[in-house]
Symmetry: C2
Amino acid sequence: MSDDRRLDVLRAIVEDYVATQEPVGSRALVERHHLGVSPATIRNDMAVLEDEGYLTQPHTSAGRIPTDKGYRMFVDRLATVKALSPAERRAIERFLSESVDVDDIVQRSVRVLSQLTSQVAVVQYPSLTRSTVRHVEVVALDGDRALVVVITSSGRVEQRTIDLPSPLTDQLLADLRSRLMPVVLGERLSEAAVKVADLIHTFEPVDQPLVAAVVATLTQTFSDERSDARIVVGGTSNLARYGAEFDTTVRPVLEALEEQVVLLKLLGEVSGGVTVRIGGETGFDTLAGNAVVASAYGGDGSRATLATVGPARMDYPGTMAAVAAVARYVGRMLDDA
Amino acid sequence: MSDDRRLDVLRAIVEDYVATQEPVGSRALVERHHLGVSPATIRNDMAVLEDEGYLTQPHTSAGRIPTDKGYRMFVDRLATVKALSPAERRAIERFLSESVDVDDIVQRSVRVLSQLTSQVAVVQYPSLTRSTVRHVEVVALDGDRALVVVITSSGRVEQRTIDLPSPLTDQLLADLRSRLMPVVLGERLSEAAVKVADLIHTFEPVDQPLVAAVVATLTQTFSDERSDARIVVGGTSNLARYGAEFDTTVRPVLEALEEQVVLLKLLGEVSGGVTVRIGGETGFDTLAGNAVVASAYGGDGSRATLATVGPARMDYPGTMAAVAAVARYVGRMLDDA
DNA sequence: GCTGGCACTCTCGGTGCCCGTTTGCCAGTC
DNA sequence: GACTGGCAAACGGGCACCGAGAGTGCCAGC
């Protein structure tokens, strides 16, 4: 028996099932694909594929549908890459290039990604930790309070209000500014957090408590993971395409998408290019029947992740192409900015 | 025939229908509420209420369900105010008080509001236009670019990158800073936008193009509506409680919630305290069968709106109480900060 | 190794039936 | 005049039943 044909059969089943969303039988298969053999032969292949765990049948006398393992095989070895159309590329590029700031880039990415894939899109804000310090500002507020603002190379602005142990004099404020900037400018956030700590001892003992308060806040801001934790979700109305039972399929996904923890984990384990995780591979039982297509984006200054979440029975080549394309454009935009 | 009893009947029907989600018949009604009359009498009342447009029946031999007009009457004249339990109040207060910044406050508000009401919650960012300028910063970037940062009394930070006609010298930068701040500090954004424009002429003619560029960006930032347009949506998984048909009830709502335009309109027309809009009153056909409970929050410095969206058959007293309470706490927090 | 044929299984849609609920109406009562 | 009890009629939900259709597994034959 030819192994090649069996794989062809698996590919054909995945493609047909994705297209029709209905279990595919041996006859329909030979009719739609010119496999050159009879349904009976296909049935034998199917039986083997089922034994090996690539296929399953909903009930005894129905066609086969792929298992998670089947999809995995399809993605790894059977799918042919599908490039986006030039029109789609242009649309992505044009839409994203109208962004006015980082918030806007993220918003637009979510939108374009969900529209392109008809799935739920998830985009993480550009990472702070790998980016560098572009500016630090300390602003005196009323009373014994101050505002610390950090601006990073990725264009993000983080601010914190602090309660000071004593009032901030103009003199000290100027001092702080002039000494802070040279130390941290251009440093990676992790470096800056260290360097700024050394600064305390260069001030007069009287001022040290106050400086320490400012420095503590800065350190906290520099090493804050929260901006990584900012994740935007869009396209949830695409969940309607599930068509099927609401409570068993859509609801768990909606709930998962509202859990920061889940989102972070889904996006966190992506290192390089386009990664696909199917069903149990996501690490969440509630996402059974679903798959996540993710990709890192951006260079050192803004590295983070974006992804789509959709039914396991999705158009993998198309989705992967869309995710890759959006990741590429978003990365380019952020690194240019 | 007693008008009072008819209204009691309407109230009872709304309450029962909200609780059971099933059409309520005359017998069930007399059993559950001690109305002191027989089912037959109730039937007569029901017939009148139906004639007047407060009730309808899904089909000939089923119980009655309230119409939008029926809910409206219930909300306006029949609902008894339901206060939140002390435990709930404390929970809201504690959870919100842990917020570290404005982003966080908004996030937490959405969360607490959706959990409290088991509905979809929508919270608009505090308005910029009514708040005042706390700080303005101009930062020189590489080349001929600069970053303008505006910090407002409501704690929001807005930043813009600008391409300058000529390089920004240290001297000019210092000049800009020292002259900008006194002019705009404490001014309302709308005022500041005007005042800052007058500033151009106080600079040397050579510098004016560059200053003009900065001022233009500032003006734009001051009068930018975009931050009003930032709206966070949460609790969409509560839509699962609709139980019913997905495509006809849940999908339109999900789609509406992804449309900024719709959200803005829903939140925009709320002036004072808690406002309820039922079915067609929302102005969107796609929200038929749903109701929006909204409230403005915050004082002059941060005025904006939050709301919940849920099925018209909702627990109005409870939802209204929750919306009012969250609005109160959020407003307090923002005005303190 | 592939094929056609055949018996078997299972789902799905349609039909008919019964049951319970609720209504509307009417005649009777306080 | 307002309320009540009784009663026929309407209607949906649930259930069993049936036949059609699709698909499988297996086997004997090429």
